[in-house]
Amino acid sequence: MPGIVELTNVVKDYPLGKLSVRALHDINITIGEGEFTAIAGPSGSGKTTILNMIGCMDVPTQGTVSIAGTITNNLGDRALTDLRLNRIGFIFQTFNLINVLDVYQNVEFPLLLQGKLSGAERKARVNAMVEKVGLTKQIGQRPNELSGGQRQRVAIARALVTNPAIVLADEPTANLDSKTGHAIIDLMSDLNRNDKITFIFSTHDPKVMECATRLVKVEDGRVVG
């Protein structure tokens, strides 16, 4: 059975002046639907580059990347953007909420970009998602009025509101204290378990790695386990 994410012989080079630096060496990863995968490794190991490839924010120099059956190598910016909007949800290390919008509006943002739902449907979907992450009381607050954990919950709600095939999380607990971090990982884990959502997250925290159902270890741009 093919994976929802397939990286085949992926190589990524970045230019550095007249030289070229290889960030990824012949990466082969297949992630199945509904997996709760951690990509682990020290800083600079290539975790984020792998997430960039999976998140359609970058394309490989060599090899192929397939997301939900779509090969991304030859896609243009518009098609990659559409793929991100409709198939991938993002959770960022620094939350990356839009400061001028409140909780409701932040969660609603991807749905507005999609333009698929009516106002009433959007409202129902957003409210349900906000309730799921436990922020109903804070729905009218702006990000600067929320705690770090609450912000990340908003980010999770925003990532899930479009019913994506994959949710990518880049070091989702890095900016949170351990208690809050665990609560976030628990939330993600519950969502994975109950709603069969595929989560792929990068981390270098051993406690977070323990929560993953699958672990991909990366060192110096290579998969080592």
């Binding site: 953007t81 991100r84 409709n86 960022f92 990356n96 839009i98 001028v100 507005l112 990000p143």
Partner: protein, 694 residues
């Protein structure tokens, strides 16, 4: 789509609130720019409107048509040629009139003929002698005595000046003769000499004494030949202020009030008027060198008063002057000099005294209604021509100050008088000339020099035929006609007005608001009729006054352009900085699935929102300001502006199109300022979201 737009608007509003300082700076610039633009456009629109009304109802009509081959463009309100423009000619006005009568857009037309003429005023000895001759003819002994006394006083005043000129003149013999002539007039027995033979004495004075007096004044007239009754009915701002209009079919002139006040008024009275105007504008005699010099020059012109006073008038005026000046010692010359040396402290009383106590004894205007003016002008063929024309009245344009020099200052003459001065003959004049030629046996000699010489000097021609031939030589130039001074005919028919030369045609449209449509129709009709004429609107026809409005428009345009260029640069810099600040936010949006065009539109909507709010505020301020100006008026301040405004003040009116234009332009400026930052923002890659900090 609507939800997306609402999202952008929501983002715009939130971003404006979040970046209040930056947006306030941009907003203030745009509010100021909109205010300047809308106010300027409104004022220029109002100025254009009042100028069009003022000028088209005063002089230009809606359109003017003139010779397409003219050397100079038509400029009815003045140009840089100081009246010497050559606007070509329409050889037969009736051809133009008949053609334009068939154009549905045209209401009526008027012939215009532009020209210049001078009138030499007599000196005071001439005038006194003229009065004396009348008194002798009437047998008015008392008046004769007074006038002889005045001539003796004038001679007494000239005598010391003659002594002064004796120190530099080379012709001592002539000087001695002149001294002797003056001494004879000054002498105590001169009244008796006059009484014994008045006519001979006056003839002697004409030749021996009058040339020693200061020259008379040279008055310069800008003339507009036209159908005066039709002019009066078609130019509603024209008003007769003294006398009457020239009756239909009569030759005559009505003088423009500004010419009347500035050239024909007594020099002292005119100077007092001008000094008063200067003082009213805030200038002081004590501090302004120019105004002080003007007062000094005026006080040296005391003779302009003295020479017009009879013995009895001097006797009546002298005690009043002594009382006014508190001076018991000075003679009349000293009193007048002292009186005219006005200061800031006494100017108002002196001027009032002049008009109440001195003016009744002098001629306040050189030319009066009813006088006959000997207009002298060079014809188109270079001959000096003199035409006597009766002064019927004085006119001005309503709303323009009576001494405004910039008001065009045309004096109106009938078309036949204009054609005399211009040097063109009517068919009847040509017939008259042919009759004269025939009666004296003149021949048309053609252009051959040999033929002319043969006719003049060869073939044993008699003296009489030579004279006749000389007359014929004058007649050879078909644009001159005889000596107008001898003309007795003072009436003419409408047919004579219509058939003959003009320099342009004033065209009145049925709908002046549709001037461009009318112009096109007129041009087509003239073209179809084979008439090579240039048709111009009021701005071009009025010359530099109309062009001044265009210059004002250009200055405003440049000011607004500079302002908006600065605004574009500042807004651009502010938005670029904002883009750099918001890189992480933009990257996040891109990562979440926002297309690059969404980011571009987000920036455009944001700047358009700021632009729209600012433009509306600026336009509202402008509206309030214009409303206030409409209530209080913008004072003209000077002659030129009073012509432009068509009165003492302009009351601008709100202009919704100007407001809309201002708002649209500000939106365009905002858009232009956003192009680069929006492009920069759209280029932010989504991957920065993974690098950014919140």
């Amino acid at each position: 789509m609507i939800a997306g737009l609402m999202l952008m608007l929501r983002l715009a509003v939130r971003n404006v609130r979040t970046h209040m300082v930056k947006n306030s700076v941009i907003g203030v610039i745009l509010v100021f720019g909109t205010f300047v633009l809308v106010t300027g456009a409104t004022l220029i629109g109002s100025l254009d409107k009042v100028m069009r009304k003022s000028i088209t109802t005063s002089i230009t009509a809606d359109l003017q048509a003139y010779d397409a081959d003219a050397r100079d463009p038509l400029s009815l309100l003045g140009d840089m040629n100081f009246g010497g423009s050559d606007n070509g000619e329409l050889p037969d006005y009736s051809a133009v009139q008949d053609t334009l009568a068939k154009v549905p857009e045209v209401r009526t037309t008027l012939p215009f003929g532009l020209g210049n003429a001078t009138v030499f005023g007599a000196n005071e000895v001439d005038r006194s002698l003229e009065d004396l001759r009348a008194a002798v003819k009437a047998g008015d002994q008392a008046r004769q005595t007074m006038l002889v006394g005045r001539l003796q006083r004038i001679a007494g005043d000239i005598r010391p000046q003659l002594d002064l000129s004796g120190t530099i003149t080379a012709d001592q013999e002539k000087l001695s003769e002149d001294r002797a002539s003056l001494d004879r007039v000054i002498s105590a027995d001169f009244p008796a000499q006059f009484a014994s033979d008045p006519v001979a004495t006056m003839d002697w004075m004409d030749g021996a004494v009058a040339p020693l007096a200061t020259d008379g004044r040279l008055n310069y007239f800008r003339l507009l030949g036209t159908d005066i009754p039709a002019f009066e009915s078609n130019f509603p701002r024209m008003q007769i202020v003294h006398g009457t209009t020239v009756p239909p079919g009569e030759r005559g002139i009505i003088i423009n009030e500004s010419s009347y006040e500035l050239m024909i008024k007594h020099p002292i009275a005119r100077e007092l008027d001008l000094i008063e105007k200067e003082i009213a504008s805030g200038t002081e005699i004590g501090t302004s060198g120019t105004l002080f010099d003007r007062v000094q020059r005026m006080s040296r012109q005391y003779r302009r008063v003295l020479y017009q006073l009879d013995t009895e008038e001097v006797a009546a005026l002298e005690p009043k002057l002594r009382a006014e000046l508190k001076d018991d010692k000075s003679d009349m010359v000293g009193l007048l000099k002292a009186f005219l040396a006005v200061s800031d402290d006494n100017f108002s009383e002196r001027k009032a005294f002049f008009y109440s106590d001195i003016a009744p004894y002098i001629r306040l205007y050189d030319i009066s209604v009813g006088d006959t003016l000997p207009l002298r002008a060079f014809t188109k063929s270079g001959y000096l021509k003199s035409v006597n024309v009766k002064v019927y009245g004085v006119y001005h344009y309503s709303g323009v100050a009576k001494d405004d020099a910039a008001a065009g200052a045309y004096s109106l003459v009938d078309m036949l008088t204009f054609r005399d001065i211009y040097g063109k003959m009517t068919a009847s004049q040509q017939a008259e000339l042919s009759g004269i030629k025939a009666s004296v046996g003149a021949k048309d000699l053609g252009a051959s020099g040999g033929s002319i010489e043969d006719e003049l000097f060869g073939g044993g021609g008699s003296i009489e035929s030579t004279v006749a031939s000389t007359e014929a030589l004058t007649g050879l130039d078909s644009v001159t006609f005889g000596r107008a001074e001898e003309r007795e005919i003072t009436t003419f028919t409408q047919d004579e007005v219509d058939h003959g030369v003009a320099t342009s045609t004033a065209i009145f449209l049925k709908n002046p608001e549709q001037a461009e449509v009318g112009k096109a129709a007129v041009e087509k009709a003239l073209g179809d009729a084979g008439l090579k004429l240039t048709v111009v609107g009021w701005k071009q026809a009025s010359g530099f006054v109309g062009q001044a409005a265009m210059v004002i428009q250009l200055v405003l345009f440049i000011a607004v352009l500079v302002l908006f260029l600065v605004a574009i640069v500042i807004i651009n810099i502010a938005l670029v900085l904002a883009t750099l600040e918001r890189t992480s936010e933009i990257g996040t949006m891109r990562a979440l699935g926002a297309q690059a065009r969404f980011v571009t539109w987000m920036f455009v909507v944001e700047s358009q929102f700021v632009g729209l709010v600012s433009a509306c505020i600026g336009a509202t301020f402008s509206g309030l300001f214009v409303n206030w100006l409409h209530t209080v008026g913008i004072p003209a301040g000077n002659d030129f502006l009073s012509v432009l405004f068509g009165g003492k003040a302009m009351y601008p009116e709100q202009s919704i199109p100007s407001m809309i234009l201002g708002i649209v332009i500000v939106q365009v400026v905002s858009l232009l300022a956003t192009i680069y930052p929006a492009w920069l923002a759209a280029d932010v890659p989504p991957v920065v979201a993974l690098q950014g900090k919140e």
